[in-house]
């Protein structure tokens, strides 16, 4: 049994302008100890998918359907008390912006101790010992003393380490990292990703990494989910996705990676903008931006189906496979993806 199995997850928000379909029929699963990367542009529904699983969306104005089975238990129908037991204990989350994700008026020690004591009936002293242990594990120097410091006394990278320590303090089965490196500078990004990978080996947690950075996915993920406009465009084990990408949107993402070996005036970009989730386009949601668009694409939304010779590689596109193989090969010749 998979640790987390999400089936046909839908999250709709009621707004004054109408219903925003932020997540529209997403399915995936995460195995114990594995890493799933969710990739997509801003507003593609990556974060909302995970917030829904955590039960952190505002309950008012949110309509959720489908299933999110965590150790066999459907989180979408679980009561709020049960969800609180799971959150921070079996399943933890770190967020994009470490500068604002820690409470400025409590010392980081206090915030970690709170995380421990919410789920464990232990003394403050024991909770503190555990907190310091985790701060050491994430590489905070002089952790014993720094536990009494306040968030503003740490740099962005150090704060994200603190967030990771806080998430792992109760040894969760699943860690959701929502763009954990986006707000950090490049060298720190690499350190944080390395830290996550190392800690995964040590703690054995499964990880979902949400990112728009294909580099992050290539380095850390076992499986990849490419999301576009609230739907899954392509889903595959990481090496397959990079060796043989099968969706024009994935090509677009790969094609827009910066390259070091040619003198391009500017980066290649996917033309147009992500569609409004209030009124998504008919048919395939990518068709207004797709260079391979056919008449069919404007009518029928392609289902997510396995490619003919690989049941683990799913994609949602009407284009025939011969063309795709040819285009994918052409793309890989000219992009950095080869290097990866």
């Amino acid at each position: 049994m998979a640790l987390l199995e999400v089936n046909d997850l839908k999250t709709y928000f009621q707004t004054d302008d109408g219903i925003v379909k932020a997540v529209d029929g997403v399915s995936f699963s995460v195995e114990k100890g594995k890493t799933l990367g969710i990739v997509g542009e801003s507003g593609s529904g990556k974060s909302v998918t995970c917030l829904t699983i955590m039960g952190l969306n505002d309950r008012k104005n949110t309509i959720t359907s489908g299933e999110a089975l965590f150790n066999g238990e459907n989180l979408l129908t679980a009561g709020s008390r049960r969800l609180r037991e799971i959150r921070g204990n079996d399943m933890a989350m770190i967020f994009q912006d470490p500068m604002t994700s820690l409470n400025p008026v409590h010392s980081i020690g206090t915030q970690l101790i709170e995380a421990v004591q919410l789920h464990r009936d232990v003394s403050k002293k024991a909770a503190r010992a555990r907190a310091v242990e985790l701060l050491k594990a994430v590489g905070i120097p002089r952790a014993e003393r720094r536990a009494d410091d306040y968030p503003h006394q740490f740099s962005g990278g150090m704060r994200q380490r603190v967030m990771i320590a806080m998430a792992l303090v109760n040894d969760p089965d699943l860690l959701i990292a929502d763009e954990p490196t986006t707000a950090l500078d490049v060298t720190t990004q690499a350190q944080i990703m390395l830290l996550l990978t190392n800690l995964q080996e040590e703690f054995g947690s499964a990880i979902i990494v949400i990112t728009h950075d294909l580099g992050v996915v290539a380095e850390s993920a076992d499986d990849v989910l490419v999301m576009y406009a609230a739907e899954v465009a392509e889903q595959a084990p990481v090496e397959k996705l990079f060796r043989r990408p099968f969706h024009p949107y994935t090509w677009g993402l790969l094609g827009s990676l910066p390259r070091l070996d040619t003198d391009l005036e500017r980066l290649v970009q996917i033309p147009g903008q992500p569609p409004s989730l209030l009124r998504p386009p008919n048919g395939c949601r990518f068709h207004p931006r797709c260079p391979y668009v056919m008449d069919k694409c404007k009518q029928i939304d392609p289902p997510l189906v396995p490619i003919s010779d690989d049941p683990a590689h799913l994609q949602a596109c009407h284009l025939d496979e011969t063309t795709k193989d040819r285009e994918a090969a052409k793309l890989l010749e000219t992009t950095m993806a080869q290097a990866i």
């Binding site: 967020f95 008026v105 306040y150 806080m166």
Partner: protein, 336 residues
């Protein structure tokens, strides 16, 4: 910290000089017939001239101001036993032109009245504003929220004089629940009534009257702050840790949302201690507001100056207290 304190104190001195100087100058720009008031109606020219000379009003303004300031800040040694240990400012505010009583005495008897009104009022308005502000922030657009915001609108729009008169009429006169006027001393029975019970009983209507405007302003401010804090990332973090809503609110939302309220409180207490003129007038409370109002009417400069000095001092002191308190509760300020 020390440098910060020194800077604050220097600023306070500048502020103090400016405020007193401006008050002094305004007083001499306003046309008045002080001599007639001091010497009495129908007094002779000669008597009036003598009175003016006696009060020093025939000297240039800057001399008068200098003498006033000197009486105030002149260092006098403080003795422990017979040994002078340190010096303190003399703090002499002079004598009333009209009554010839020491201004210090007048302030000393009026300040506790205003203090009782203001501090009691602060408690009343916080008791109203905190629950209203927090609850309506938690349920925006609910019936409760709309009712609260209606109260806020009324509270801000209705003038304290009007509220005071209505309250005095309804609860004092018609229903007879509370006394309409006068003040009872907290400690002694001077002047007919006294003791904590009578003191509070006589102050209930003034407290509520004084508090309503502030309760409305604070409820609105607390609501906005709490709503903003609820959307902060660290609140989401707290929920992601599995903290129950109540704990999220208490430990993460309120602690941050109420920081600006503390600042406001310091300012408003300081200003209030200068005299709650409207409330004191309606309920006939012998506080600083009534004192300065009468003194202005009689162009009794020393009393006006006395109250201004006291109010300025109160504002400066309370702002300093709040700054220190703020540094204590907000680690970002304390440690930077």
């Amino acid at each position: 910290m020390i440098r910060y304190l020194i800077r604050r104190v220097l600023w306070a001195i500048v502020l103090f000089v400016v405020v007193t100087l401006v008050t002094y100058v305004i007083f001499f720009l306003v046309p008045n017939d002080l001599a007639a008031k001091v010497a009495g109606q129908g007094s002779s020219q000669e008597a009036r001239a003598r009175a003016i000379h006696h009060l020093g009003l025939d000297r240039p303004v800057y001399v008068q101001y200098g003498k006033f300031m000197w009486a105030l800040v002149k260092p006098v040694p403080v003795h422990v036993g017979s040994v002078p240990v340190f010096v303190r400012p003399q703090g002499n505010l002079g004598y009333s032109y009209i009554r010839a009583t020491p201004v210090n005495e007048l302030i000393k008897s009026a300040a506790p009245v205003t203090g009782s009104l203001v501090f009691g009022g602060v408690i009343v308005w916080l008791l109203i504003a905190l629950p209203i502000g927090i609850l309506s922030a938690l349920r925006p657009r609910s019936v409760m929220d709309r009712a609260s915001m209606t109260f806020v609108l009324v509270g801000i729009s209705a003038h304290p004089i009007w509220i005071g008169l209505i309250f005095a009429y309804v609860f004092g006169f018609r229903l007879g629940w509370f006394p309409i006027s006068n003040y009872c001393n907290f400690f002694n029975h001077a002047g007919g009534c006294g003791g904590p019970v009578q003191w509070a009983y006589h102050l209930i209507l003034p407290w509520i009257t004084y508090a309503i405007l502030f309760a409305a302003l604070y409820a609105r401010m607390i609501r906005a702050n709490v709503m903003e804090a609820m959307t902060e990332d660290y609140v989401r973090t707290a929920r992601a840790k599995g903290a129950p809503e109540q704990r999220v609110l208490r430990s993460h939302v309120l602690r941050n949302a109420l920081l600006p309220v503390v600042t406001m409180l310091g300012m408003d207490i300081g200003v209030g201690l200068g005299g709650a003129v409207f409330t004191e007038t309606i309920y006939n409370l012998p506080g600083l507001g009534k004192l300065i109002l009468r003194a202005i009417g009689e162009t009794d400069l020393p009393i006006v100056m006395g109250v201004v000095v006291f109010a300025t001092f109160a504002i400066i002191v309370f702002n300093l207290i709040i700054d220190l308190l703020y540094a204590w509760i907000d680690p970002r300020i304390r440690l930077s």
